[in-house]
């Protein structure tokens, strides 16, 4: 218990010594053992993702790349990179990042990338990717981390004047709207929406007055309504969301196929790799609609298990936030947890036709390198925060 007391003392000091590459969690002065439940959930999700990516993509890979393992191998590579990043992040005390000299350049760099990507040629009809040879990078993935880090730093620095609109809400909102707006311009409304939720969640937790938060809704509501009314296909999406079966051969084809896949899974599923909906009935069965493949092949049991894994991750993430020794840690933990969980639940809700269709990958599961690597790195940071006990 001596270590516990030591930790407490350390955490209250400013001149703490971060311990790099420590092997035993509790052996050093500043660390509790890492949250094994969270680690297990993260590793479980990653492994589950690899397996499901294989099942969902084998046919597609066979057809397009001549080998059924194409996506599996790529995803495995990214998982390796991501796990490496997670291991490193796990061992770097998160408080190392708590410096404007680190966070602000990252934020500026991200904004530049987000601007640059708009001028690059379209990939899949959007400006989301920056390609480096065989690899591709989504600036919006980096933007998620950058925004979370910036908001945490800024909110902690000005936590004493949180009630002052101009000092806290206004600057954060400007930065956030800049980043979110750039992502929305790609267009990637899904990620934009997630970032907005993260932004709102972090400000909410940082005790920003609710009336400040409400101001952002004032211009947002007419803007959203305008988008719905003036861009016909968005309205169509909303109609399809209300009654997906109406246009099942045309506009709501994707959602209908997803519902058919999940529904036909029943309680036990049709069996791993036995799903039929991935045979080009489902659009992007290995990415945005991988949850439908899971629902079909593993049934209610598999789908609920996955949802519960994300629930566990949320529980452990918020637990880390609750016990983080400083507001920065709390806000980073909340930002990252909300980011991962909101993405996951949003993706699942789209597959279940609970929310209108939006292209958001399922964290840890969907094929896609930057998403997986980022999720794993974020988990590493969360795991590191979990090692610290604040109160």
């Amino acid at each position: 218990m001596a270590t516990y007391a030591g930790t407490k003392n350390n955490s209250q000091r400013d001149g703490w010594q971060p311990t790099l590459w420590q092997s035993g969690g509790a052996s050093k002065s500043n660390g509790l053992p890492i949250d094994k439940i969270m680690l297990a959930v993260v590793l479980g999700l990653t492994l589950f993702g690899l397996v499901m990516v294989y099942s969902a993509s084998a046919m597609l890979a066979e057809r397009n790349f001549g080998t059924q393992f194409y996506f599996l191998l790529r995803q495995s590579g990214w998982a390796f990179v991501g796990l490496l990043a997670m291991t490193i992040a796990m061992r770097i005390d998160y408080r190392h990042y708590k410096r404007s000299t680190i966070i602000l350049p990252v934020l500026y760099f991200t904004v530049v990338l987000l601007v640059v990507v708009l001028f690059l040629p379209k990939v899949n009809n959007t400006h989301r990717w920056i390609r480096f040879g065989a690899l591709s990078l989504q600036p919006s993935e980096i933007a998620k981390l950058a925004l979370v880090a910036f908001l945490a730093l800024f909110l902690e620095n000005r936590s004493h004047e949180v009630n002052v609109f101009k000092r806290v809400f206004l600057p954060t909102a400007i930065i956030a709207i800049l980043v979110i707006g750039l992502i929305g311009a790609e267009p990637d409304f899904g990620t934009a929406l997630i970032l907005f939720i993260v932004f709102a969640g972090m400000l909410f937790h940082a005790q920003v007055p609710l009336r400040h938060l409400a101001t952002i809704a004032l211009p947002l509501v007419p803007a959203l309504l305008g988008m719905l009314v003036f861009v016909p296909w968005r309205l169509q999406r909303l109609i399809d969301f209300v009654d997906p079966w109406k246009n099942q051969q045309t506009s709501s084809y994707q959602v209908v196929q997803s519902l058919i896949a999940i529904g036909s899974g029943g309680l036990n599923g049709v069996g791993f790799a036995e799903g039929k909906q991935k045979l080009f009935y489902l659009p992007s069965p290995h990415t945005d609609f991988i949850f439908a493949v899971i629902g079909e092949e593993l049934g209610l049991i598999g789908a609920i298990t996955l949802v519960i894994l994300f629930g566990l991750l949320a529980w452990r993430g918020f637990k880390a936030a609750r016990y983080a020794p400083d507001l920065f840690g709390q806000l980073v933990a909340i930002g990252l947890t909300v980011m991962i969980i909101a993405q996951a639940f949003f993706n699942i809700s789209v597959a279940l036709s609970l929310l209108p269709a939006k292209g958001i990958p399922l964290p840890f599961i969907s094929a896609g390198g930057s998403s997986l690597a980022l999720s794993l790195f974020a988990s590493g940071v969360l795991l590191n925060i979990s090692k610290h006990e604040g109160s």
Binding site: Q12, M59, S159, G201, F204, H205, A206, Q207, L259, I260, A261, I262, G263, S264, G265, G266, L267, K276, Q277, L279, F280, Y281, G295, G299, L300, A303, I304, V307, F310, G311, A314, F318, A321, R322, L327, Q330, I334, V338, I341, F345, I348, S349, L352, L354, G390, S391
Partner: protein, 716 residues
């Protein structure tokens, strides 16, 4: 820190709460979709992903009693197409249509039905069609193996076997009765398609072959029985007829024929009349063959003996205001004579002695009015009304309708010593692997005592030997039976003039009956008496059957007759139903002697033409009249004489003689005392005295005394 960390935690709770609500919403939606909507959505999935093609199972084989295949299925190919893989439907439709003899436009429509993954083009192609289609070398076509039923003997036993439809479903006969048993289990091929309608995978659920059926039927006997029936019906220009042959000891059906017939291999052109199995589906008023019921009952109840004299009231009796007549009047006959002459009056009197109640019991015990439960669909139970509604004509077989199978079962009772045995067609049912699944034994129950059966047998033998059914005689064997000729009811209360059902039911050999056979002919034209129309068919069919079964002839001479290739020795018999008084061998000598005095030719029967040698139909037709009008020759009694003596005797009268065997004459044809024309060859059997086997009293050709008086008829 404390003030900072306390409130954020409350706000954190709100965030956590929102997350939990979202999670629960997701779970609820999952349960809704995967439990409540599961049937609906999985059906949708199946509809868009799969198409299944049923695989017809191999139908079981039907064998005859000797293991010959009667019906079997074999694989043929059916053609299907995947419309989405057919690019040039316009081009190939006319070519396919030409090969397969299909409508061009209809085929084009099917090939272009892109909303369907798989369409049937034509089922069960011939080998030639397959070869031609293959030669086109087209994309997007697929064969599916199906089964086609083949009836290897064509029309033989068509009514017993029945037929199947294009899906191998049994529609009539055994095919229908045992459809569930021999159909096997259907399999299916499920083809999975991807969203581009390309077949991705297929899964075959194998079909299971159906059970095999081994019949009691003998294909060869059936063939000859059908031949005899067909020829007989053509001779009589009749509408149709039926023949049932069974083993009296076991109830096994050896042959069951119905005419007109059809080819089960292709029933498309067959009429309902052709497809009707008259043996079980058609009930007819049996007429005189039904008299055996009253006679057996009376014998069993000891009301009569074969020698009981019955007052036949000169051929007329009025009962309940209904006048019943004999074809030819008699004053008084013994029971044996009355049966032989088929006296209606005598049968009515016997029926009265029994009383309706008792008669009804026997009718029921003989199996009339109930289905025999033979293994065929659509069996009629006949028509038997409640005793209260009986007409007085029941004892003579009017006012009741029976099926041929019922009648065959009833005659089996007499032939087998008094037990009713259920007629059945199936010996055993075996699985594909040869295990016996079932081996039906058939019900049986005693109807009359063995004594009664024996007595009745000898009385029925008298019918063949001396009575109305001489045409039922079988070379080399002794036969017994009863003729029946009934007017056809017009469906209201009367009978149709000139329309008859002519029947004969009997069995052979008398000593140890192997075969019971009933022949019933519907609306013969010209000769219409059972003894003329049906009895020769009986003789022909049973004669073949006995030989095929290897039943030893009842004496060696008969055997040599057969061996010598002389199969029929039909004699221009006097006609059925004719009051030809014959005698019971011993006891009635007196009566016989009295009758002997007159030997007038049987002129009154001109309207009932004789029908003798089936091979000489044309001659016989002419002979029908010539027979009595012009120079007949009295056939001498050759029995007991040597061959030279017999030759001399015949020569002196201008008769030709044909002899078989060695020794002295022991049986001749025509019988002594008959008037015959010059064309008739007199045939005799010769035996060495030592080889005489059968007791004289039982020999149909003996004693000579009886024969001598055979024509002494109409004295009374």
């Amino acid at each position: 820190m404390p003030s900072k960390s306390k409130t954020p935690k409350n706000r954190l709770r709100i965030i956590q709460l929102l997350i939990i609500v979202w999670l629960l919403a997701i779970c609820a939606r999952l349960v809704w979709l995967q439990v409540k909507e599961y049937p609906n959505l999985s059906a949708r999935a199946e509809r868009q992903q799969q198409a299944s093609i049923p695989l017809t199972p191999m139908r079981g084989v039907i064998y005859d009693r000797n293991g010959n295949e009667l019906a079997r299925s074999s694989e043929v190919k059916s053609l299907y197409a995947y419309p989405n893989q057919i690019t040039d439907a316009q081009l190939i439709a006319p070519r396919l249509a030409k090969i397969l003899d299909l409508d061009k436009d209809e085929l084009l429509k099917r090939l272009k039905a892109s909303d369907k993954v798989c369409v049937a083009i034509k089922r069960k192609l011939s080998d030639q069609e397959v070869a031609q289609v293959d030669a086109l070398n087209l994309q997007g076509l697929r064969y599916v193996n199906e089964m086609k039923r083949q009836y290897l003997n064509g029309t033989t036993a068509a009514h017993v076997l029945g037929f199947v439809d294009v899906d191998e479903k049994g529609l009539s006969g055994l095919e229908r009765y045992f459809d569930q048993t021999i159909r096997g289990q259907e399999g299916k091929m499920t083809v999975t398609f991807d969203a581009l309608k390309k077949p991705f995978d297929h899964e075959i659920e194998k079909s299971v072959q159906g059970a095999n059926i081994h019949l009691t039927l003998d294909a060869t006997i059936q063939h000859y029985a059908e031949k005899a029936l067909r020829e007989g019906i053509r001779r009589s220009n009749a509408r149709g007829g039926t023949l049932v042959m069974m083993k009296p000891a076991t109830g096994e059906i050896l042959a069951l024929a119905s005419y007109p017939t059809f080819d089960p291999n292709d029933v498309s052109d067959s009429t309902d009349l052709q497809k009707r199995n008259r043996a079980i589906e058609t009930a007819f008023e049996p007429g005189s063959i039904f008299k055996i019921v009253a006679y057996s009952a009376a014998l069993e109840e000891k009301l009569i003996t074969p020698n009981t004299l019955i007052n036949c009231g000169n051929g007329t009796i009025t009962i309940n205001g209904q006048k019943i007549q004999d074809t030819h009047p008699h004053s008084s006959l013994t029971a044996t004579q009355a049966l032989a002459q088929s006296s209606n009056v005598a049968a009515i009197i016997i029926g009265q002695k029994l009383g309706y109640e008792r008669l009804a019991q026997y009718i029921e015990r003989f199996g009339f009015g109930q289905r025999t439960k033979i293994e065929l669909p659509a069996e009629s139970r006949g028509i038997l009304t409640n005793v209260k509604h009986w007409t007085p004509t029941i004892p003579i077989g009017y006012g009741i309708s029976v099926t041929a199978v019922q009648a065959a079962a009833a005659f089996s009772c007499i032939a087998n010593g008094g037990t009713w045995v259920q007629p059945h067609l199936v010996k055993q049912i075996t699985s594909t692997y040869g295990e016996i699944i079932s081996e039906p034994q058939g019900e049986r129950h005693r109807v009359i005592s063995p004594d009664t059966a024996a007595t009745l047998t000898s009385m029925l033998e008298g019918v063949v030997v001396r009575g109305t059914a001489k045409a039922a005689k079988i070379e080399g064997y002794r036969a017994a039976g009863k003729t029946g000729t009934s007017k056809k009811a017009n469906g209201k209360h009367g009978y149709m003039a000139g329309k008859y059902v002519a029947s004969f039911a009997g069995f052979a050999p008398v000593e140890n009956p192997e075969i019971v056979c009933i022949v019933s002919i519907d609306e013969p034209v010209g000769a219409y008496f059972g003894g003329d129309v049906a009895a020769p068919i009986f003789a022909q069919a049973v004669s073949h059957a006995l030989q095929i079964m290897g039943v030893a002839p009842e004496n060696a001479v008969e055997s040599s007759f057969v061996a010598g290739g002389v199969k029929t020795f039909e004699v221009p018999q006097l006609v059925d139903e004719r009051p030809l008084l014959s005698q019971t061998p011993a006891a009635n000598q007196g009566v016989a002697q009295a009758a002997k005095a007159s030997s007038a030719p049987p002129t009154p029967n001109a309207e009932a033409p004789a029908n003798h040698n089936p091979n000489r139909e044309a001659d016989d037709k002419e002979a029908q009249n010539v027979h009595q009008a012009s120079g007949e020759i009295l056939v001498p009694d050759l029995n007991g004489r040597g061959i030279r003596e017999a030759l001399a005797l015949c020569a002196s009268r201008g008769l030709k003689l044909q002899a078989n065997g060695e020794g002295i004459v022991s049986g001749q044809s025509p019988p002594p005392g008959t008037y015959v024309t010059k064309e008739v060859i007199c045939r005799v059997r010769l035996v060495r005295t030592m080889q005489k086997k059968s007791p004289p009293a039982r020999d149909p050709k003996k004693p000579p005394a009886a024969h001598a008086q055979a024509t002494a008829t109409r004295a009374q």
